[in-house]
């Protein structure tokens, strides 16, 4: 499964998902009213040190956050230009800290564990007909569909280039949508053939094994 999880045995990995999530929520609330740059910078350094739990790989993967860094630098300049440099500095430190901590939780928690931890929160959805089984199935479908859709788009683009010699760009989005939706219909049919989202478990008509002809 594609995931941001970094396998490891650190102490932070060993804390279970529930407490980690709760701790993250608590810290976010605590950090929010901070308005002194010193405290914000301290929190940021602590987060940076905590991050060592995921080792070099963790710091390296932080590079994926580059767009956020640009955004934060932009934000700081914006604050400086409008004469609120100090509050901008606090904001940037605070945001960095929160992002680091949240990312740390993500890097050290398996997706399955995260899902299990969230199960109590999701249970009420049962009442509107969304069972945890359906959620799991939907997640699997999304992860499965994503590469299929990219493949479809690439094929379509290649076919267009072969016939015109030009890059396709947005003009292929409509045929792509129709193609993708057809795929969805086929998938629905195949899912129904395998018992649908609810499976065969609770088909009373099927008790006692398969009737023989």
């Amino acid at each position: 499964m594609i995931s941001a999880y970094i396998p490891g045995e650190s102490w932070f990995h060993r804390i279970s998902a529930g407490p980690k999530l709760l701790g993250l929520c608590a810290l976010t609330v605590l950090l929010f009213p901070v308005d002194k740059p010193g405290i914000a910078a301290l929190a940021f350094s602590v987060a940076l040190v905590l991050f060592s739990a995921v080792g070099w790989e963790g710091y390296r993967r932080l590079m994926a956050l580059r767009p956020v860094v640009y955004l934060l630098v932009f934000l700081l300049i914006f604050h400086a230009l409008t004469g609120t440099f100090v509050s901008g500095l606090v904001t940037v430190f605070r945001l960095f800290t929160m992002i680091l901590l949240a990312t740390l939780v993500t890097f050290t928690t398996r997706m399955e564990d995260m899902l299990d931890a969230l199960n109590p929160v999701l249970t009420p959805l049962n009442f509107i007909g969304i069972s945890s089984r359906r959620i799991a199935l939907a997640i699997a479908l999304v992860i499965r569909f994503t590469p299929v859709l990219i493949g479809l788009a690439e094929e379509l683009g290649a076919a267009y280039r072969a016939r015109t010699g030009k890059r396709a760009g947005p003009r292929l989005t409509a045929p792509f949508a129709v193609l993708a939706l057809r795929t969805a219909d086929h998938v629905s049919e195949a899912l129904a053939a395998r018992g649908g989202a609810d499976g065969f478990e609770d088909t009373a008509e099927f008790d006692g094994g398969l009737p023989k002809k």
């Binding site: 976010t28 955004l71 932009f74 904001t91 992860i143 760009g169 949508a177 795929t183």
Partner: protein, 185 residues
């Protein structure tokens, strides 16, 4: 629409939002350091094509996957960190935007598909999303309302292109595969 088909369609649109992040449909270079993603096109489409509830569910499903650690946001970002970033308000606005777009699409069922899709996508996908995103910037980035609104302007041209694309796609699906325009079915 059967339950299974709903499930598959909702998942398909969530995957579409993910695919749009990994595979940019159009390349607009960095503007002021902010990458412009095609993902809000997926949000508009989810609402316009699936209708309010299913559209919002598709977006929530996508965000849920991102939250539990799938790196599906543009640029390969994922995890809880993105909801702590300054643009978290926009992300929270996505499902609401999809819902509003779907509701408008349904409400305008007497009008032509292309026109109502454009209006729905513009109001849901731009109006509502910014309605959440700008206050988000105000709170999270400690900006004034005017600053936040000004900073968000860079996204508008890209968003208008996405509105146009949404309308064209909805129109061609309505002609080529009418059953798939669930919001009107």
């Amino acid at each position: 629409m059967s339950n299974d088909r709903t499930l598959v369609y909702v998942s398909l649109y969530a995957a579409l939002i993910a695919a749009l992040g990994l595979f940019p449909l159009f390349h607009i270079p960095f503007l002021g350091g902010v990458p412009i993603t095609a993902q809000t096109l997926g949000v508009m489409l989810a609402g316009v094509m699936l209708g309010p509830m299913r559209g919002a569910f598709a977006v929530v499903l996508f965000l849920f996957l991102v939250a539990i650690g799938a790196p599906l946001l543009a640029g390969g970002r994922g995890g809880l960190g993105v909801f702590a970033g300054p643009s978290a308000g926009f992300l929270i606005g996505w499902p609401v935007g999809a819902f509003v777009a779907g509701a408008l699409m349904r409400g305008m069922r007497r009008r032509s598909v292309i026109v109502s899709a454009a209006i729905s996508a513009a109001i849901g996908g731009i109006g509502v999303v910014y309605l959440f995103g700008i206050p988000g910037l105000v709170v999270l980035a400690d900006l004034s309302f005017g600053q936040a609104a000004l900073g968000s302007l860079v996204y508008i041209p890209g968003d208008l292109i996405k509105v146009a694309l949404t309308a064209v796609i909805a129109e061609s699906v309505a002609r080529g595969l009418p059953g798939a325009l669930v919001s009107r079915a």
